[in-house]
Amino acid sequence: MAERPEDLNLPNAVITRIIKEALPDGVNVSKEARRAISQAASVFVLYATSCANNFAMKAKRKTLNATDVMSAMEEMEFERFLQPLRESLEAYKKGQKGKKEASEQKRKDAKEKKNDVEENDKSREEEEEEEERMEEDQEAENEVEEEEVEN
């Protein structure tokens, strides 16, 4: 089921918080201004996505990646975003790696505790764990199936 771009907006509370944190204390924002900024943000996402997708298509790739987005920012004349985005991306990648390692470690510990379980049960669990671990990586592939149905 496809959502129309007009129906999708970003959570007001989060947008409001971002605005408040950007502005000095004592400054207020009218409801109409907030709504307009929120709408602008959605338009930004759509425009940035379209721009980034052009770069992906040029490179004959079907998957939009971070580099495409960076190229899009340059194209859109938001070069000032590039440095902070690079830093955020590094931190994000480290965080993702840490999470993966942490959850793998937990699975290892959980597995060791279940050494008494019968062969059948064990192999079933392993399959489930493999699926869980792969879930993140395969998420995109699952989305493909969704997309094919949608489009």
């Binding site: 959502e3 771009p5 999708l8 970003l10 959570p11 989060v14 947008i15 971002i18 605005i19 950007a22 502005l23 004592g26 400054v27 207020n28 924002v29 009218s30 109409e32 201004a33 709504r35 307009a36 900024i37 709408q39 602008a40 943000a41 959605s42 338009v43 930004f44 996402v45 759509l46 425009y47 940035a48 996505t49 379209s50 997708n53 998957t63 939009l64 990646n65 971070a66 495409d68 004349e77 938001f78 000032r80 975003f81 902070p84 985005l85 955020s88 991306l89 994000y92 993702q96 840490g98 999470k99 942490a102 959850s103 470690q105 937990k106 869980e132 995109a140 989305e143 997309e147 949608e150």
Partner: protein
């Protein structure tokens, strides 16, 4: 989804002194505070890593484009972060116009003025509800 990764880590085991578990606990606290949102001094340190905007919503917006087939988790995250930077930028630029008008309240017309005056915002012209 990216934000759900943290949630799946959370339920395993309550308090532990294991350093690896500590990270898991922090994630639980962060998530209890409300997904990726944070307040207080810790916010500064992790703000760069976590996006404030929900990645699921960003992804849904991206998928609305019929030409987009797949997007990596990283690309969704970067667009989320870029959108946050965009919101900060447009709010600050609009504020200048409010200050010209000697007002402390940002109004819709300040947004319109900023969009008209600033090149980077040209893509917004004609897109916002009147």
């Amino acid at each position: 989804m990216a934000e759900n990764v943290a949630l799946s880590v959370a339920p395993l085991g309550p308090t532990e002194s294991d350093p690896e578990r500590c990270e898991g606990e922090e994630e639980v606290r962060r998530n209890e505070a409300g997904e990726n949102k944070q307040t207080g001094p810790v916010a500064g340190a992790t703000q760069n890593r976590l996006a404030k905007l929900p990645l699921s919503r960003i992804k849904a917006l991206m998928k609305a484009d019929p030409d987009v087939s797949l997007a990596s988790q990283e690309s969704v995250f970067i667009i989320a972060k870029a959108t946050e930077l965009f919101v900060e930028m447009i709010a600050k630029d609009a504020l200048v116009y409010a200050q010209h008008g000697k007002r402390k309240t940002l109004q819709r017309k300040d947004l319109d003025n900023a969009i008209e005056a600033i090149d980077e915002f040209a893509f917004l012209e004609g897109t916002l509800d009147v």
